[in-house]
Symmetry: C2
Subunit: 378 residues, 2 copies
């Protein structure tokens, strides 16, 4: 079809063991898994092993407007007796092995402004006479990250990054992740900095990275415009990992950018702003929430889950921990790595859907048992 | 008024010795100067000193679509007996001294494309794993021009630039040009690379410059978008001067960009394209066309004109020379440097308008006399 779908996106269609439809894996399928678990107990008139409180968010793809405020407003009531949080989002890395997501990166987004005069100039009439803001900005942006390695070149930026442990490294090496299909499908052929599985996974989730996004105020259209822009704003962001702090990252970048600018001999004016910042997050793999998820995965799927960290930021995870007074959060994915969330022909496999309901149900039983043990200890 | 004009732009309004209106100086005023010269001869029943052929262009500000083709199509007919061309465009540098424009810069506009994959990526999900095209492009763009001096850093680019002569330098030093008002008004306060009059004028017109215009394909909007663009195209252009050739400039830039890219260790794909190119142009100050303009200026204004070159490109000048079989062209400006062409409250002074008609008329008489002398010699 014209929209790229092979089926009607808003009519669930089963084909070859897969259920196709918008939201099948992100997140209508996983939400239904929770409801089937409840329905099972209703049907057989069984009590739930513990109280289950649900937060359904239908606007995650539109910035979850109001969700944070809403959660904070019921921190003392709805959340007062919560022992842990399980978020249904994210997917397995590959097709075979279930995973547990125990970390997400933070993000510090910078806008570096170089201001020249009050008006754009014609490069024919004035080029050569003026100090062009673009020249300065491009020089600054060129000193931030290395092309060949992807290493961030801002001094001090790695100071707060946790040391890699042997155990952690082994976890990445064990992951169900296919480099070839990642290179061909997921990245659309954009060249990889490394072909090594563990290196790729760590670069995407347990190390910081810096991406140059673009320039506001410069000519961005097609064709040939001969403009000297009066003010340009370079946009780049640093994905952060535990235990990098927003303050330290911002300070390192500001110090570096100012230093580079000072060497340019420019009379333009410089401003370095942080326009968005979110903290990284990491769960405690030895805590009851993760032990419960691991036990459930083993019982239902017969394997130890992969332990993955997410490269992007899901800041609501931190909010849930905060409003529940620091209770542990976990992301327990149901769908496979090729489900195609946000894309055409999104699907969830029948198998993952059914086993997903079992996994979440077993998780609740394990969670209930482990929190009771935990409470008995004290 | 809301549109920034103090008068009705399309109703000529006289105020304090100035005639205000859209096109007053660019170029309705100068066009009328030519017509007054003809009208004078009609009124007094005098023969013109030579045949006068006019080309009126009403679409110069919209790319002069079709003009070049039109001129070329009448090269053998309309232009077959033309001895020289006088273009009414451009303005004096300052307020007091008339000028003759005897050169314009060329322009070679580059689009350097760095192509990664087939789709834009999320910097959270994939940042760290991929070689980002933006990183490569920014590195390349940072090696093109020096911030502090404005010098082009592409090896070989100055090879074909004419040596500066003492006479030329003196001509710039003599020019009626006020650095302070240029810095405050014309450039909107964008810092100047030099405060020296002759240096500024030469940097704007007799030396090449390189301006970085922007990047196509990168994020250019307001706010914070966390994208890794799949393909980015850096736009920059080099204003060229005699006797730089398009081929040499293109070759130098291509060689340099490829060399820099090779040092980056990138697996992205690079393309260097010239998307627009126009030659520089310079008239012969000793030829009859320039001697005629200088003589007319001296008779009407009582002074030797400034000899200026234009930083921008008026490629139609080259076309006129070409279609007339290499006959000399000149730009003989009428309006003052503060007339505000293209801007609100555009004006031409009564004095410049009236003296302009006299200047152009006297120029035609001098031109006629000198070409006859020239022909008598052969």
């Amino acid at each position: 079809k014209e929209d790229g779908w092979d089926t009607e996106p808003f009519q669930l269609t089963e084909k070859d063991g897969n259920l196709y439809g918008r939201g099948a894996t992100d997140d209508k399928g996983p939400v239904l898994c929770w409801l089937w678990f409840v329905e099972f107990h209703r049907k057989f008139n069984l009590p739930l092993p513990c109280n289950l409180k649900c937060v359904f968010e239908g606007m995650e793809e539109s910035g979850s407007e109001g969700l944070e405020e809403c959660l904070k407003s019921v921190s003392e009531t709805f959340f007062h007796d919560v022992d842990g949080i399980c978020i249904s989002d994210n997917y397995w890395m590959g097709l075979e092995r279930p995973c547990v997501t125990w970390g997400i990166r933070g993000n510090v987004y910078f806008a570096v402004e170089v201001r020249g005069g009050t008006k754009d100039l014609h490069s024919g009439a004035h080029g050569g006479a003026v100090q062009e803001p673009m020249t300065d900005l491009i020089k600054i942006m060129s000193t931030l990250v290395d092309s060949a390695t992807g290493k961030i070149l801002v001094p001090g930026i790695y100071d707060e990054v946790d040391e890699l442990t042997e155990e952690e490294k082994e976890r990445y090496e064990r992951c169900d992740f296919d480099v070839a299909s990642y290179a061909n499908e997921d990245t659309g052929g954009m060249p990889l900095l490394s072909q090594d599985k563990a290196t790729i996974l760590m670069a995407r989730s347990r190390y910081p990275t810096l991406s140059l996004h673009g320039i506001e105020g410069a000519f961005a259209g097609a064709g040939a415009k001969t403009v000297i822009p009066r003010t340009v704003v370079g946009k780049f962001s640093i994905r952060t990992v535990p235990h990098m702090t927003i303050d330290h990252v911002a300070e390192c970048v500001k110090r570096h950018v100012v230093k580079v600018f000072d060497t340019l001999g420019s009379k333009n004016r410089l401003k370095v702003n942080v326009i968005h910042a979110g903290k990284p997050w990491m769960g405690d793999l030895n805590g009851y929430n993760y032990r419960a998820a691991a036990a459930a995965t083993k019982q239902v799927w017969g394997v130890e889950p992969d332990y993955t960290r997410e490269g992007g930021s899901i800041p609501i995870t931190l909010t849930f921990e905060e409003v529940s007074g620091g209770k542990p959060a976990i992301l327990l994915p149901i769908g496979q790595g090729n489900d195609g969330a946000h894309s055409q022909n999104e699907k969830i496999s029948r198998r993952n859907y059914i086993m997903g309901a079992k996994t979440l149900g077993t998780y609740v039983y394990e969670f209930s048992r482990m929190t009771q043990e935990e409470k008995a200890k004290h």
